[in-house]
Protein backbone atom coordinates (compact mmCIF):
# COMPACT_ATOMS: atom_id res chain seq x y z
CA UNK A 1 0.00 0.00 0.00
CA UNK A 2 2.06 2.87 -1.34
CA UNK A 3 -0.09 5.68 0.13
CA UNK A 4 0.12 4.18 3.62
CA UNK A 5 3.86 3.55 3.38
CA UNK A 6 4.56 7.10 2.19
CA UNK A 7 2.43 8.55 4.98
CA UNK A 8 4.15 6.40 7.64
CA UNK A 9 7.57 7.26 6.25
CA UNK A 10 6.80 11.00 6.51
CA UNK A 11 5.40 10.65 10.03
CA UNK A 12 8.53 8.89 11.27
CA UNK A 13 10.52 12.01 10.38
CA UNK A 14 8.71 13.82 13.21
CA UNK A 15 10.44 13.99 16.58
CA UNK A 16 9.49 11.24 19.03
CA UNK A 17 7.62 9.17 16.44
CA UNK A 18 8.99 5.77 15.49
CA UNK A 19 7.58 3.37 12.94
CA UNK A 20 5.23 1.66 15.39
CA UNK A 21 3.67 4.94 16.54
CA UNK A 22 3.45 6.13 12.93
CA UNK A 23 1.54 2.98 11.96
CA UNK A 24 -0.85 3.45 14.91
CA UNK A 25 -1.53 7.03 13.82
CA UNK A 26 -2.03 5.95 10.21
CA UNK A 27 -4.51 3.16 11.07
CA UNK A 28 -6.32 5.47 13.46
CA UNK A 29 -6.72 8.06 10.70
CA UNK A 30 -8.04 5.39 8.33
CA UNK A 31 -10.77 4.50 10.81
CA UNK A 32 -11.57 8.00 11.98
CA UNK A 33 -14.21 10.50 10.86
CA UNK A 34 -13.29 11.98 7.47
CA UNK A 35 -14.05 15.51 8.72
CA UNK A 36 -11.46 15.11 11.48
CA UNK A 37 -8.80 13.95 9.01
CA UNK A 38 -9.67 16.89 6.76
CA UNK A 39 -9.45 19.42 9.62
CA UNK A 40 -6.12 17.96 10.73
CA UNK A 41 -4.70 18.12 7.20
CA UNK A 42 -5.81 21.75 6.82
CA UNK A 43 -4.23 22.73 10.16
CA UNK A 44 -0.97 21.06 9.24
CA UNK A 45 -0.89 22.78 5.85
CA UNK A 46 -1.81 26.17 7.29
CA UNK A 47 0.39 26.08 10.39
CA UNK A 48 3.42 27.78 8.88
CA UNK A 49 1.24 30.57 7.40
CA UNK A 50 -0.67 31.14 10.62
CA UNK A 51 2.32 31.22 12.96
CA UNK A 52 5.19 33.59 12.28
CA UNK A 53 8.23 34.80 14.19
CA UNK A 54 7.82 38.00 16.19
CA UNK A 55 10.01 40.63 14.49
CA UNK A 56 11.14 41.94 17.89
CA UNK A 57 11.76 38.96 20.15
CA UNK A 58 11.76 36.06 17.67
CA UNK A 59 9.15 33.92 19.46
CA UNK A 60 6.20 32.28 17.70
CA UNK A 61 3.15 34.47 17.26
CA UNK A 62 -0.03 34.89 15.22
CA UNK A 63 0.30 38.68 15.29
CA UNK A 64 3.48 40.63 14.76
CA UNK A 65 4.72 42.00 17.17
CA UNK A 66 3.74 39.22 19.57
CA UNK A 67 1.32 39.84 22.48
CA UNK A 68 4.22 39.98 24.97
CA UNK A 69 6.20 42.57 23.01
CA UNK A 70 3.11 44.71 22.38
CA UNK A 71 1.68 44.52 25.90
CA UNK A 72 1.97 47.74 27.91
CA UNK A 73 1.69 45.68 31.08
CA UNK A 74 5.07 43.95 30.66
CA UNK A 75 8.20 45.13 32.45
CA UNK A 76 10.39 46.59 29.67
CA UNK A 77 13.47 46.84 31.83
CA UNK A 78 14.10 43.05 31.81
CA UNK A 79 14.77 40.79 28.81
CA UNK A 80 14.94 37.03 29.20
CA UNK A 81 17.22 35.40 26.57
CA UNK A 82 16.14 31.87 25.63
CA UNK A 83 17.42 29.25 23.20
CA UNK A 84 14.25 28.52 21.23
CA UNK A 85 10.71 29.88 20.78
CA UNK A 86 9.07 27.07 22.78
CA UNK A 87 11.10 28.13 25.85
CA UNK A 88 9.01 31.32 25.90
CA UNK A 89 5.84 29.24 26.25
CA UNK A 90 7.40 27.25 29.09
CA UNK A 91 8.47 30.33 31.05
CA UNK A 92 5.15 32.07 30.41
CA UNK A 93 3.47 29.01 31.91
CA UNK A 94 5.14 29.78 35.24
CA UNK A 95 3.35 33.19 35.38
CA UNK A 96 6.31 34.36 37.43
CA UNK A 97 8.09 36.45 34.86
CA UNK A 98 6.62 39.73 33.66
CA UNK A 99 9.44 41.03 31.46
CA UNK A 100 10.20 40.65 27.74
CA UNK A 101 11.90 37.86 25.80
CA UNK A 102 14.60 37.39 23.20
CA UNK A 103 14.95 34.12 21.30
CA UNK A 104 18.58 33.37 20.43
CA UNK A 105 17.72 30.65 17.93
CA UNK A 106 20.28 28.15 19.18
CA UNK A 107 23.31 27.71 21.43
CA UNK A 108 27.01 28.22 20.77
CA UNK A 109 28.53 24.87 19.82
CA UNK A 110 31.79 24.78 17.85
CA UNK A 111 31.27 21.01 17.41
CA UNK A 112 28.11 21.70 15.40
CA UNK A 113 29.66 24.68 13.66
CA UNK A 114 27.41 27.14 15.54
CA UNK A 115 29.15 30.34 16.57
CA UNK A 116 27.79 33.54 18.17
CA UNK A 117 27.32 35.03 14.67
CA UNK A 118 24.70 32.34 13.97
CA UNK A 119 22.59 33.43 16.94
CA UNK A 120 20.36 36.48 17.21
CA UNK A 121 22.75 38.35 19.46
CA UNK A 122 23.18 41.54 17.43
CA UNK A 123 19.43 42.16 17.53
CA UNK A 124 19.55 41.69 21.32
CA UNK A 125 22.30 44.31 21.59
CA UNK A 126 20.28 46.62 19.34
CA UNK A 127 17.28 46.27 21.67
CA UNK A 128 19.47 47.08 24.68
CA UNK A 129 20.91 50.14 22.91
CA UNK A 130 17.40 51.47 22.35
CA UNK A 131 17.47 52.09 26.09
CA UNK A 132 15.37 51.22 29.12
CA UNK A 133 16.81 47.72 29.63
CA UNK A 134 18.44 47.21 33.04
CA UNK A 135 18.78 43.43 33.16
CA UNK A 136 19.18 40.47 30.80
CA UNK A 137 18.26 37.09 32.30
CA UNK A 138 20.02 34.26 30.48
CA UNK A 139 17.72 31.24 30.55
CA UNK A 140 19.77 28.73 28.56
CA UNK A 141 19.83 25.08 29.60
CA UNK A 142 22.47 24.02 32.15
CA UNK A 143 24.51 22.09 29.57
CA UNK A 144 28.04 22.67 28.26
CA UNK A 145 26.59 24.57 25.27
CA UNK A 146 24.11 26.49 27.45
CA UNK A 147 26.93 27.46 29.83
CA UNK A 148 29.18 28.61 26.97
CA UNK A 149 26.39 30.75 25.51
CA UNK A 150 25.62 32.26 28.93
CA UNK A 151 29.30 33.10 29.53
CA UNK A 152 29.54 34.65 26.07
CA UNK A 153 26.46 36.82 26.65
CA UNK A 154 27.71 37.89 30.06
CA UNK A 155 31.05 39.04 28.66
CA UNK A 156 29.49 40.80 25.69
CA UNK A 157 26.53 42.45 27.39
CA UNK A 158 28.27 43.73 30.48
CA UNK A 159 29.99 46.27 28.20
CA UNK A 160 26.55 47.73 27.48
CA UNK A 161 26.06 48.46 31.17
CA UNK A 162 23.12 46.07 31.76
CA UNK A 163 23.12 43.57 34.57
CA UNK A 164 23.41 39.98 33.27
CA UNK A 165 21.89 37.22 35.39
CA UNK A 166 21.33 33.50 34.88
CA UNK A 167 18.51 31.24 36.00
CA UNK A 168 19.47 29.35 39.15
CA UNK A 169 20.09 25.63 38.81
CA UNK A 170 19.61 23.07 41.50
CA UNK A 171 17.04 21.14 43.45
CA UNK A 172 13.51 21.08 42.04
CA UNK A 173 10.95 22.77 44.27
CA UNK A 174 8.89 20.28 46.25
CA UNK A 175 11.47 17.69 45.29
CA UNK A 176 12.97 15.22 47.66
CA UNK A 177 16.75 14.94 48.04
CA UNK A 178 16.31 11.22 47.78
CA UNK A 179 14.87 11.44 44.28
CA UNK A 180 17.10 14.16 42.84
CA UNK A 181 19.33 12.92 40.06
CA UNK A 182 23.02 13.18 40.83
CA UNK A 183 23.90 15.75 38.22
CA UNK A 184 21.23 18.07 39.64
CA UNK A 185 22.45 17.40 43.16
CA UNK A 186 26.08 18.03 42.16
CA UNK A 187 25.06 21.31 40.53
CA UNK A 188 23.10 22.23 43.63
CA UNK A 189 26.20 21.70 45.74
CA UNK A 190 28.33 23.82 43.44
CA UNK A 191 25.72 26.58 43.49
CA UNK A 192 24.86 26.33 47.18
CA UNK A 193 23.85 29.61 48.82
CA UNK A 194 24.52 31.13 52.23
CA UNK A 195 21.58 31.07 54.59
Amino acid sequence: MKALEEFVSLLTRLPGIGRKSALRVAYHLLRTDRAFAQALAERIAGLQDAIVFCSICGSYTETDPCPVCSSPARDRSVICAVEQPQDVVTIEGSREYRGLYHVLGGLISPLDGVGPEDLKIQSLIARIREGGVAEVVVATNPTVEGDTTALYLKRLLEATGVSVTRLATGMPVGGDLEYADRLTLARSFRGRTKL
Binding site: L111, V144, R182
Partner: protein
Protein backbone atom coordinates in the same frame (compact mmCIF):
# COMPACT_ATOMS: atom_id res chain seq x y z
CA UNK B 1 23.74 -7.90 43.94
CA UNK B 2 24.30 -11.65 43.62
CA UNK B 3 22.66 -13.43 40.71
CA UNK B 4 20.48 -16.39 41.58
CA UNK B 5 20.06 -17.37 37.93
CA UNK B 6 20.85 -16.38 34.37
CA UNK B 7 19.05 -17.11 31.10
CA UNK B 8 20.66 -16.57 27.71
CA UNK B 9 19.57 -16.91 24.10
CA UNK B 10 21.74 -16.65 20.97
CA UNK B 11 24.63 -15.25 23.01
CA UNK B 12 28.04 -16.08 21.49
CA UNK B 13 28.68 -19.85 21.49
CA UNK B 14 26.42 -20.57 24.48
CA UNK B 15 23.64 -23.08 23.92
CA UNK B 16 20.39 -21.38 25.00
CA UNK B 17 19.68 -22.28 28.63
CA UNK B 18 18.88 -21.10 32.13
CA UNK B 19 21.50 -21.69 34.83
CA UNK B 20 21.11 -21.71 38.59
CA UNK B 21 23.78 -19.47 40.14
CA UNK B 22 22.62 -19.33 43.75
CA UNK B 23 25.98 -19.83 45.48
CA UNK B 24 28.65 -17.57 46.97
CA UNK B 25 31.24 -18.95 44.57
CA UNK B 26 30.54 -20.37 41.14
CA UNK B 27 33.24 -22.20 39.18
CA UNK B 28 33.11 -22.81 35.44
CA UNK B 29 35.59 -25.54 34.54
CA UNK B 30 36.41 -26.50 30.98
CA UNK B 31 38.88 -26.42 28.11
CA UNK B 32 39.42 -23.25 26.12
CA UNK B 33 36.68 -22.23 23.71
CA UNK B 34 33.88 -24.02 25.58
CA UNK B 35 32.02 -20.87 26.64
CA UNK B 36 33.38 -20.09 30.14
CA UNK B 37 34.47 -16.54 29.36
CA UNK B 38 31.31 -15.96 27.33
CA UNK B 39 29.24 -16.77 30.39
CA UNK B 40 31.23 -14.26 32.47
CA UNK B 41 30.70 -11.75 29.69
CA UNK B 42 26.94 -12.42 29.81
CA UNK B 43 27.00 -11.66 33.56
CA UNK B 44 28.98 -8.48 32.91
CA UNK B 45 26.40 -7.46 30.27
CA UNK B 46 23.68 -7.86 32.90
CA UNK B 47 25.74 -5.79 35.34
CA UNK B 48 26.68 -2.88 33.04
CA UNK B 49 25.05 -3.41 29.65
CA UNK B 50 28.39 -3.74 27.83
CA UNK B 51 31.12 -6.28 27.09
CA UNK B 52 34.21 -6.27 29.29
CA UNK B 53 36.24 -7.18 26.23
CA UNK B 54 35.52 -3.74 24.80
CA UNK B 55 33.79 -5.27 21.80
CA UNK B 56 30.74 -4.10 19.91
CA UNK B 57 27.38 -5.62 20.75
CA UNK B 58 26.94 -7.15 17.28
CA UNK B 59 29.88 -9.46 17.96
CA UNK B 60 28.10 -10.98 20.95
CA UNK B 61 25.33 -12.39 18.74
CA UNK B 62 25.63 -16.10 17.99
CA UNK B 63 26.74 -16.81 14.44
CA UNK B 64 23.68 -17.15 12.21
CA UNK B 65 21.35 -15.38 14.68
CA UNK B 66 20.07 -11.81 14.38
CA UNK B 67 19.75 -10.88 18.04
CA UNK B 68 20.72 -11.97 21.53
CA UNK B 69 18.94 -11.68 24.84
CA UNK B 70 20.03 -12.17 28.43
CA UNK B 71 18.16 -12.04 31.67
CA UNK B 72 19.26 -12.55 35.22
CA UNK B 73 17.61 -12.57 38.60
CA UNK B 74 19.46 -10.84 41.39
CA UNK B 75 18.79 -9.79 44.96
CA UNK B 76 20.63 -8.06 47.81
CA UNK B 77 21.54 -11.42 49.35
CA UNK B 78 21.41 -14.96 48.02
CA UNK B 79 19.30 -15.93 51.00
CA UNK B 80 16.59 -13.39 50.06
CA UNK B 81 13.20 -14.77 49.12
CA UNK B 82 12.72 -14.98 45.31
CA UNK B 83 9.92 -12.43 45.64
CA UNK B 84 12.54 -9.81 46.58
CA UNK B 85 14.67 -10.53 43.54
CA UNK B 86 14.83 -8.27 40.51
CA UNK B 87 15.05 -9.18 36.87
CA UNK B 88 17.68 -7.49 34.72
CA UNK B 89 17.22 -7.89 30.99
CA UNK B 90 19.58 -6.99 28.13
CA UNK B 91 18.89 -7.59 24.46
CA UNK B 92 20.39 -6.47 21.18
CA UNK B 93 18.28 -6.61 18.05
CA UNK B 94 18.32 -4.62 14.82
CA UNK B 95 21.25 -2.59 16.12
CA UNK B 96 19.27 -1.45 19.16
CA UNK B 97 20.24 -2.43 22.68
CA UNK B 98 17.51 -2.64 25.27
CA UNK B 99 18.24 -2.75 28.98
CA UNK B 100 15.43 -3.24 31.47
CA UNK B 101 15.26 -3.64 35.23
CA UNK B 102 12.02 -5.16 36.43
CA UNK B 103 10.54 -4.52 32.99
CA UNK B 104 11.37 -0.80 33.07
CA UNK B 105 13.76 0.54 30.43
CA UNK B 106 17.09 1.88 31.68
CA UNK B 107 18.02 5.01 29.72
CA UNK B 108 21.41 5.70 31.28
CA UNK B 109 23.76 2.77 31.98
CA UNK B 110 25.16 4.77 34.88
CA UNK B 111 22.16 3.57 36.92
CA UNK B 112 23.37 -0.02 36.55
CA UNK B 113 26.72 0.82 38.14
CA UNK B 114 24.91 1.36 41.40
CA UNK B 115 22.60 -1.60 41.05
CA UNK B 116 25.10 -4.34 40.28
CA UNK B 117 28.63 -3.17 41.12
CA UNK B 118 30.85 -5.73 39.40
CA UNK B 119 34.60 -6.01 39.06
CA UNK B 120 36.12 -8.22 36.42
CA UNK B 121 39.64 -9.65 36.57
CA UNK B 122 40.51 -10.54 33.01
CA UNK B 123 43.39 -11.00 30.63
CA UNK B 124 42.80 -7.59 29.01
CA UNK B 125 43.68 -5.92 32.34
CA UNK B 126 47.33 -6.62 31.56
CA UNK B 127 47.30 -3.35 29.61
CA UNK B 128 46.73 -1.42 32.88
CA UNK B 129 50.31 -2.32 33.77
CA UNK B 130 51.97 -2.53 30.38
CA UNK B 131 49.72 -0.69 27.94
CA UNK B 132 49.19 2.90 26.85
CA UNK B 133 48.61 5.63 29.48
CA UNK B 134 45.00 5.81 28.28
CA UNK B 135 44.39 2.30 29.65
CA UNK B 136 45.53 3.31 33.16
CA UNK B 137 43.32 6.41 33.02
CA UNK B 138 40.48 4.10 32.01
CA UNK B 139 41.07 1.87 35.03
CA UNK B 140 41.25 4.70 37.56
CA UNK B 141 38.25 6.48 36.02
CA UNK B 142 36.32 3.24 36.31
CA UNK B 143 37.45 2.81 39.94
CA UNK B 144 36.41 6.39 40.79
CA UNK B 145 33.10 6.06 38.92
CA UNK B 146 32.21 2.90 40.80
CA UNK B 147 32.24 4.73 44.11
CA UNK B 148 30.90 8.07 42.90
CA UNK B 149 28.38 8.51 40.11
CA UNK B 150 29.05 12.24 40.17
CA UNK B 151 32.60 11.44 39.04
CA UNK B 152 31.06 9.85 35.93
CA UNK B 153 28.96 12.98 35.38
CA UNK B 154 31.96 15.29 35.77
CA UNK B 155 34.03 13.14 33.42
CA UNK B 156 31.25 13.19 30.82
CA UNK B 157 30.96 16.97 31.11
CA UNK B 158 34.73 17.36 30.84
CA UNK B 159 34.84 15.19 27.71
CA UNK B 160 32.03 17.19 26.14
CA UNK B 161 33.82 20.49 26.88
CA UNK B 162 37.07 18.99 25.54
CA UNK B 163 35.38 18.14 22.24
CA UNK B 164 33.88 21.62 22.00
CA UNK B 165 37.27 23.14 22.83
CA UNK B 166 39.07 21.03 20.20
CA UNK B 167 36.47 22.08 17.61
CA UNK B 168 36.98 25.74 18.59
CA UNK B 169 40.77 25.29 18.27
CA UNK B 170 40.42 23.75 14.81
CA UNK B 171 38.07 26.52 13.69
CA UNK B 172 40.28 29.22 15.21
CA UNK B 173 37.38 30.49 17.37
CA UNK B 174 39.45 32.61 19.74
CA UNK B 175 36.33 34.48 20.85
CA UNK B 176 35.01 31.24 22.37
CA UNK B 177 38.20 29.69 23.70
CA UNK B 178 38.38 31.94 26.77
CA UNK B 179 34.86 30.87 27.74
CA UNK B 180 35.45 27.20 27.06
CA UNK B 181 38.71 27.36 29.02
CA UNK B 182 36.84 28.50 32.13
CA UNK B 183 34.54 25.48 31.97
CA UNK B 184 37.39 23.20 30.90
CA UNK B 185 39.57 24.14 33.85
CA UNK B 186 36.63 24.07 36.29
CA UNK B 187 35.72 20.47 35.50
CA UNK B 188 39.37 19.50 35.03
CA UNK B 189 40.27 20.63 38.54
CA UNK B 190 37.41 18.57 39.97
CA UNK B 191 38.67 15.47 38.15
CA UNK B 192 42.25 16.07 39.26
CA UNK B 193 41.18 16.44 42.90
CA UNK B 194 39.25 13.16 42.72
CA UNK B 195 42.20 11.41 41.08
CA UNK B 196 44.63 12.73 43.69
CA UNK B 197 42.35 11.35 46.39
CA UNK B 198 42.21 8.02 44.60
CA UNK B 199 46.00 7.87 44.36
CA UNK B 200 46.33 8.47 48.11
CA UNK B 201 43.74 5.79 48.86
CA UNK B 202 45.18 3.24 46.44
CA UNK B 203 48.91 3.70 46.99
CA UNK B 204 49.50 2.10 50.40
CA UNK B 205 46.97 -0.63 49.79
CA UNK B 206 48.61 -1.42 46.48
CA UNK B 207 52.12 -1.56 47.96
CA UNK B 208 51.06 -3.99 50.70
CA UNK B 209 49.07 -6.34 48.51
CA UNK B 210 51.53 -6.42 45.65
CA UNK B 211 54.36 -7.26 48.05
CA UNK B 212 52.26 -9.88 49.85
CA UNK B 213 51.85 -11.85 46.63
CA UNK B 214 55.03 -11.04 44.71
CA UNK B 215 57.50 -11.15 47.66
CA UNK B 216 59.60 -8.82 45.53
CA UNK B 217 61.25 -7.18 48.53
CA UNK B 218 60.93 -3.69 47.06
CA UNK B 219 58.08 -1.20 47.31
CA UNK B 220 56.17 -0.75 44.07
CA UNK B 221 54.33 2.56 44.43
CA UNK B 222 51.51 4.08 42.47
CA UNK B 223 52.28 7.49 40.98
CA UNK B 224 49.84 10.07 39.63
CA UNK B 225 51.17 12.96 37.61
CA UNK B 226 48.45 15.42 36.62
CA UNK B 227 48.92 17.21 33.33
CA UNK B 228 48.44 20.53 35.15
CA UNK B 229 50.88 19.64 37.90
CA UNK B 230 52.98 22.80 38.20
CA UNK B 231 49.99 25.12 38.58
CA UNK B 232 48.12 25.74 41.77
CA UNK B 233 44.84 27.41 40.96
CA UNK B 234 42.39 28.21 38.18
CA UNK B 235 44.10 31.50 37.29
CA UNK B 236 47.51 29.85 36.80
CA UNK B 237 46.09 27.05 34.66
CA UNK B 238 44.14 29.56 32.54
CA UNK B 239 47.36 31.55 32.04
CA UNK B 240 49.17 28.38 30.96
CA UNK B 241 46.41 27.56 28.48
CA UNK B 242 46.57 31.12 27.09
CA UNK B 243 50.34 30.80 26.67
CA UNK B 244 49.97 27.52 24.77
CA UNK B 245 47.12 28.69 22.59
CA UNK B 246 49.02 29.27 19.36
CA UNK B 247 50.58 25.80 19.61
CA UNK B 248 47.22 24.22 20.35
CA UNK B 249 45.57 26.11 17.49
CA UNK B 250 48.25 24.93 15.07
CA UNK B 251 47.65 21.32 16.09
CA UNK B 252 43.88 21.70 16.50
CA UNK B 253 43.84 19.80 19.77
CA UNK B 254 44.06 20.34 23.54
CA UNK B 255 47.58 19.54 24.66
CA UNK B 256 47.03 19.62 28.42
CA UNK B 257 44.31 18.61 30.85
CA UNK B 258 43.13 15.53 32.73
CA UNK B 259 42.89 13.58 29.45
CA UNK B 260 46.71 13.77 29.44
CA UNK B 261 47.22 12.80 33.11
CA UNK B 262 49.72 10.01 33.76
CA UNK B 263 49.51 7.07 36.13
CA UNK B 264 52.53 4.84 36.62
CA UNK B 265 54.17 2.34 38.95
CA UNK B 266 57.53 3.15 40.41
CA UNK B 267 60.25 1.48 42.41
CA UNK B 268 62.13 4.38 43.93
CA UNK B 269 62.66 6.81 41.08
CA UNK B 270 62.44 4.11 38.41
CA UNK B 271 59.47 3.25 36.24
CA UNK B 272 58.61 -0.30 37.31
CA UNK B 273 57.03 -1.25 33.97
CA UNK B 274 60.35 -0.72 32.20
CA UNK B 275 62.15 -3.43 34.18
CA UNK B 276 59.37 -5.71 35.42
CA UNK B 277 58.83 -9.24 34.10
CA UNK B 278 55.63 -10.20 32.29
CA UNK B 279 54.51 -12.12 35.39
CA UNK B 280 55.11 -9.10 37.62
CA UNK B 281 53.15 -6.86 35.25
CA UNK B 282 50.26 -9.32 35.29
CA UNK B 283 50.36 -9.23 39.06
CA UNK B 284 50.25 -5.41 38.98
CA UNK B 285 46.98 -5.52 37.04
CA UNK B 286 45.51 -8.21 39.32
CA UNK B 287 46.52 -6.23 42.41
CA UNK B 288 44.85 -3.09 41.02
CA UNK B 289 41.60 -5.04 40.77
CA UNK B 290 41.98 -6.40 44.31
CA UNK B 291 42.48 -2.89 45.66
CA UNK B 292 39.56 -1.62 43.59
CA UNK B 293 37.24 -4.24 45.12
CA UNK B 294 38.45 -3.60 48.64
CA UNK B 295 38.30 0.20 48.33
CA UNK B 296 34.81 -0.01 46.83
CA UNK B 297 33.54 -1.94 49.84
CA UNK B 298 35.25 0.41 52.26
CA UNK B 299 33.74 3.49 50.64
CA UNK B 300 30.24 2.21 49.96
CA UNK B 301 29.75 -0.52 52.54
CA UNK B 302 28.62 -2.81 49.72
CA UNK B 303 30.07 -6.05 48.40
CA UNK B 304 30.83 -6.18 44.68
CA UNK B 305 30.39 -9.11 42.33
CA UNK B 306 33.78 -10.45 41.28
CA UNK B 307 34.43 -12.15 37.95
CA UNK B 308 37.78 -13.96 37.54
CA UNK B 309 38.47 -14.96 33.98
CA UNK B 310 41.36 -17.47 33.86
CA UNK B 311 43.56 -15.07 35.78
CA UNK B 312 44.91 -17.52 38.32
CA UNK B 313 46.51 -19.33 35.39
CA UNK B 314 48.88 -16.41 35.08
CA UNK B 315 50.38 -16.98 38.54
CA UNK B 316 52.60 -19.79 39.79
CA UNK B 317 51.19 -22.10 42.44
CA UNK B 318 52.50 -20.28 45.51
CA UNK B 319 51.54 -16.82 44.22
CA UNK B 320 48.13 -18.17 43.31
CA UNK B 321 47.57 -19.34 46.88
CA UNK B 322 48.69 -16.01 48.33
CA UNK B 323 46.55 -14.12 45.83
CA UNK B 324 43.45 -16.15 46.73
CA UNK B 325 43.96 -15.33 50.40
CA UNK B 326 43.83 -11.63 49.55
CA UNK B 327 40.56 -11.69 47.63
CA UNK B 328 38.26 -9.36 49.58
CA UNK B 329 34.74 -10.36 50.59
CA UNK B 330 32.41 -10.39 47.59
CA UNK B 331 28.66 -10.47 47.13
CA UNK B 332 29.36 -13.36 44.80
CA UNK B 333 32.43 -14.57 42.92
CA UNK B 334 32.65 -16.36 39.58
CA UNK B 335 35.81 -18.14 38.44
CA UNK B 336 36.82 -19.90 35.24
CA UNK B 337 39.33 -22.76 35.37
CA UNK B 338 40.98 -25.15 32.97
CA UNK B 339 40.41 -28.83 33.90
CA UNK B 340 44.08 -29.26 34.88
CA UNK B 341 44.02 -26.50 37.49
CA UNK B 342 43.74 -27.44 41.19
CA UNK B 343 40.30 -25.84 41.42
CA UNK B 344 39.15 -28.56 43.84
CA UNK B 345 41.51 -26.99 46.40
CA UNK B 346 39.70 -23.68 46.18
CA UNK B 347 36.14 -24.90 46.46
CA UNK B 348 34.17 -24.55 49.67
CA UNK B 349 30.86 -25.99 50.84
CA UNK B 350 29.04 -23.09 49.20
CA UNK B 351 30.71 -23.45 45.79
CA UNK B 352 28.70 -24.37 42.74
CA UNK B 353 30.76 -26.08 40.04
CA UNK B 354 29.77 -26.28 36.36
CA UNK B 355 31.64 -28.14 33.69
CA UNK B 356 31.65 -26.35 30.37
CA UNK B 357 31.62 -28.20 27.08
CA UNK B 358 30.53 -26.94 23.64
CA UNK B 359 28.62 -23.99 25.10
CA UNK B 360 26.73 -26.25 27.56
CA UNK B 361 27.10 -26.16 31.35
CA UNK B 362 26.43 -29.15 33.58
CA UNK B 363 26.92 -29.66 37.32
Amino acid sequence: MPFSSIRYAAFRNLVDAELDLAAERVFFVGENGQGKTNLLEALYYLAYGVSFRGQVDAEAVKRGAAEFSLSGRCSEALSDSPILSEEVFVSWAERVKTIKVQGKPVRDRKILVEKNPTIVFCHEDYSFAAGEPERRRFFFDQAAGLISLSYIDTLREYKRILRQRNAALREGRFDLLDLLDQQYVGRGIELMAARRRLQREFDDRFVLRFEAVSLLGREVRLRYRPSWSGEEGIAEILAKLAAKRSEETALGTSLSGPHRDRWSFAVGAENFAATASTGQLRLVSLTLRLVQAEYFTEMTGRLPLLLFDDVLLELDRSKRRRFLELIPPAGQAFFTFLPGEPWEEYRTDSTLVYEASDGRFAN
